[in-house]
C-alpha cells in the first residue's frame, strides 16, 4: 500500500540532494574542523559554506548562526542564554500555545522563582498585542513568541512583537521551527534578536538545528566547552548534518515559491473538499494568516485517535490534537487555549503537506475520509444525540470544562 505522508510538521523527508551532500562527510572527509592540519581544515571550509547557506535562508550574517543539535536546544539556549546574561531580571513573556520546547522551559523557570507571563490567544489562535504591551515589566528579561504554530499553522506578527519589545529594551526570541523554509524570513529587515530553526522540519535530517543570534545581543553559552561556534556553543561540530542543513537551506529556498503556490493550493483543495463532503467539520485557526502547508480540521462528536487509526489503515499519515494519541488526558493545549469546544477539540486532525505531496495524495484522503468519519460517528453517542436534536451537555456527568493551563 502506498504511504501518503501528510505529517510534515512532525518531520519531513530528508531531500535526496541533502543526503548526497552529506555522504562524503561520513567517509573520506572525516577530519575535525578544529584540527590544525589541512585534512581537518578542508572540512572547516564546508562548515563555513553551510553557515553561509543557513544565514542566506533567513537574511542573516554567517557569524550570527550557531549550529545546535535541534530546535529544542536552540530554544533552550536562547532562553537560558539570555537569562544568564540578565541575572537581575526575573520575568519572561511567552505564549500559551508555544511548543513544549518553550512552554515547558517556562514552567521549569516558574518552579524556580521566575515570573512567567503566558499570553492567551483568541478563537483564531491570534495574540492580543495590547496584552503583550501591558505584560512587559521593568525586569522582563525576554519575550519569546513562536513564529508559526505547529498545530494550526497560525502565523504570529513577530516583527511587530519584536519592535514592541525593542521599544522597552527587551530582547525578543522566536521559535521559528515551523516557519523557516515555508515562508520568507529576513533578519536584515527585522528587529528579531534570536531565532530558532530545526533541520528536520525543512528536509534536512533529525539531529541538527541552528540559533540565529543578532550581532550585539547579550548571550551566555548554554553548552560550555571548547571554542567552537565562536565560543557560544561548545562541542565538536556535527559536520555531516551541518552540511546537510546548509544544503537543505538552499533546497527550501529553491522550493519556497512552490510551497506557497502548488502546496498551498493542495492544502486548500483538501480543506474545501472535506468541509463540503463531511458535515460538522471546521478549520481551527486563522483561515488566512497561516502556513501554506498546514490544515487543522475538527470533526465534531468523534475522537481523533480513532480517525488516525483508520487513516493508517488506508496508508495515510497525519496527527491529532486528541489526548489519546499521546497518553495525555487532555486534548491539545493549543486548541484548548483557543477555546475550541470539546465537541471539536477531541476530534481534530492535522494534515501538514510538503513539496513531495501530489494531487493523487489529496485525492486519496478526500476519497477515504468521508466513510471513515461516518463509520466512527455511527458509534458515537454524542453524534446520535446531536442528530436527534439533543444537546451533548445532556449526556452524562463529570468533567470540569474549564481549561487548565499550568500557571
Amino acid at each position: 500500500m502506498k504511504t501518503v505522508y501528510l505529517d510534515n510538521n512532525a518531520t519531513t523527508r530528508t531531500a535526496p540532494e541533502v543526503v548526497e551532500a552529506m555522504l562524503p562527510f561520513f567517509s573520506e572527509l572525516y577530519g575535525n574542523a578544529s584540527s590544525m592540519h589541512s585534512f581537518g581544515g578542508q572540512v572547516g571550509k564546508h562548515l563555513a559554506r553551510a553557515r553561509e547557506q543557513v544565514a542566506a535562508l533567513i537574511g542573516a550574517h554567517p557569524a550570527e548562526i550557531i549550529f545546535t543539535s535541534c530546535g529544542t536546544e536552540s530554544n533552550n539556549a536562547a532562553i537560558m542564554g539570555t537569562l544568564y546574561s540578565y541575572p537581575e531580571k526575573k520575568h519572561i513573556v511567552i505564549c500559551r500555545v508555544e511548543h513544549p520546547a518553550v512552554l515547558n522551559v517556562g514552567h521549569h523557570l516558574q518552579a524556580r522563582g521566575y515570573r512567567v507571563t503566558e499570553l492567551g490567544v483568541d478563537r483564531q489562535g491570534k495574540l492580543n498585542l495590547d496584552e503583550l504591551r501591558a505584560s512587559l515589566k521593568e525586569d522582563t528579561a525576554l519575550v519569546s513568541i513562536m513564529a508559526a504554530n505547529n498545530e494550526t499553522g497560525v502565523l504570529f506578527p513577530i516583527d511587530e512583537i519584536a519592535a514592541i519589545a525593542k521599544e522597552r529594551g527587551i530582547p525578543f526570541h522566536t521559535d521559528a521551527v515551523q516557519a523557516v523554509g515555508k515562508i520568507p524570513m529576513d533578519m536584515s529587515r527585522s528587529p528579531i534578536d534570536l531565532l530558532s530553526l530545526s533541520g528536520h522540519k525543512l528536509h534536512a535530517p533529525k539531529g541538527i538545528g541552528a540559533l540565529y543570534l543578532r550581532k550585539g545581543t547579550k548571550f551566555s553559552p548554554f553548552m560550555i566547552g571548547g571554542h567552537q561556534e565562536g565560543g557560544r556553543r561548545g562541542g565538536t561540530e556535527n559536520v555531516p548534518y551541518i552540511v546537510g542543513l546548509g544544503r537543505a537551506a538552499e533546497f527550501v529556498t529553491d522550493h519556497m515559491e512552490e510551497e506557497n503556490t502548488r502546496v498551498r493550493a493542495l492544502r486548500d483543495r483538501l480543506e474545501t473538499e472535506l468541509i463540503q463532503r463531511i458535515p460538522n467539520t471546521l478549520i481551527n485557526g486563522d483561515p488566512l494568516n497561516r502556513l501554506p502547508n498546514t490544515s487543522n480540521i475538527s470533526f465534531e462528536y468523534i475522537e481523533g485517535e480513532s480517525i488516525l487509526m483508520l487513516l493508517n489503515e488506508e496508508g495515510i499519515c497525519a496527527s491529532s490534537g486528541s489526548a489519546c494519541t499521546s497518553g495525555s488526558l487532555q486534548p491539545s493545549h493549543v486548541l484548548r487555549a483557543m477555546g475550541v469546544p470539546f465537541t471539536a477539540a477531541h476530534g481534530s486532525v492535522r494534515f501538514s503537506l510538503s513539496i513531495y505531496n501530489t494531487d493523487a495524495d489529496v485525492d486519496h484522503v478526500i476519497k477515504v475520509m468521508p466513510p471513515i468519519i461516518e463509520r466512527i460517528r455511527e458509534m458515537s453517542p454524542f453524534w446520535k444525540d446531536y442528530q436527534a436534536g439533543k444537546p451533548p451537555s445532556s449526556f452524562l456527568t463529570g468533567g470540569d470544562v474549564e481549561h487548565h493551563v499550568h500557571g
Binding site: M80, L83, Y84, P87, H108, L109, A111, R112, G113, Y114, F222, Y301, I302, E303, E305, S306, M309, L310, N312, E313, S322, A323, C324, T325, G327, S328, L329, Q330, P331, F342, T343, H346, E378, M379, S380, P381, F382, K384, P392, S393, F395, L396, T397, G398, G399, D400, V401, H404
Partner: protein
Amino acid sequence: MWDYTDKVKDHFLHPRNVGEVENPDAIGEVGSLACGDALRLTFKLDENKRIQDIKFQTFGCASAIASSSALTEIAKGMTLEEAEKISNQDLAEFLGGLPEEKMHCSVMGKEALEAAIANYRGEEAVKEDFEIVCKCFGVTDKEIERVATENDLTSLEQITDFTKAGGGCQACHPKIEAILTKLWGKKPVEPAENLVPAGQKLTNLQKIRLIQETLEREILPPIRSDGGDLELIDVAGDTIYVALRGSCSFCPQSQFTLKNFVEAKLREFVSPDLVVEEVKG
C-alpha cells in the same frame, strides 16, 4: 502509535454489537464529552433473565471502542448476577492486554455495565456519600478507592492510568496520595527527635543516615522529575556539601532551590541547624 494487540485492533476495526437495543430493559451511561471518553450501553433480557441483546455506543479512542465491544461479547447470555462480576481486568484480558495508560477504558466498560444494571433495578445512580476528588474528570474518592483495591494500584500514576483522576490540572494529587496512604498505609516519617533521647544530639552516623533518607524521600524525586539531580558530597558538622547535576547544574535558580528547598527540607527532617553549601564540579 500505541502498541495494541491484534485483538484490540480487531475489535476496533470490527466492533461487535454497535448501536442501541430497541426498547431496552436498561441503559447505562458513563463518561463525558469533556473527558474524551463516553459509553452508552443498552441491554434487553430474555425470559430467563439472561442478557439476550446488548449494544454500545462509544465516543473515544481505539481502546475505548475495543473495550466496549469486548464487554458486550462477554456479557451476552449472562444473568445480571454473573454480569456484575465482570471486572475491568476481564475486559483487558479478553483483549490480550491494554497499554497501562489506556486501562481507564476497561474501567469505563465495567462502570457502564454497573450503571445499566442499576438502571434496570431502579437504583439511584448516586448511592453513597462521595467527594469529587478530580474535578477535571469528575472522579470521586469512592471510585479511586474501589479501582485501587480491585486492581492493586499503589501509585498516583497507576490511579491516573486507570481512572484519569489526576491527569488534568494536578491539583488533586495530594488528595489522591492521601487516599492511597489511607488504603495501603505508609511508613510514617520518623522525626529526628525520636531517634535520640531528649537532651542528646544526633551522632554523626545518625545525622548522615537521616540526611541520606531525607534526600531520597523528600528532595531527590521532585528534582529528578525536572531533569535535575543532586549528589551528597560531604557532611562536616552542620554543613552539608552537595553538588548539583543534570539541569540543576546550569539552572540560574539553583541557589534558590538549594536554600529554599533542599536546606529547608533538611532542616525540617534532620536538624534546624543545618546549612547547605554547593560544591562545584
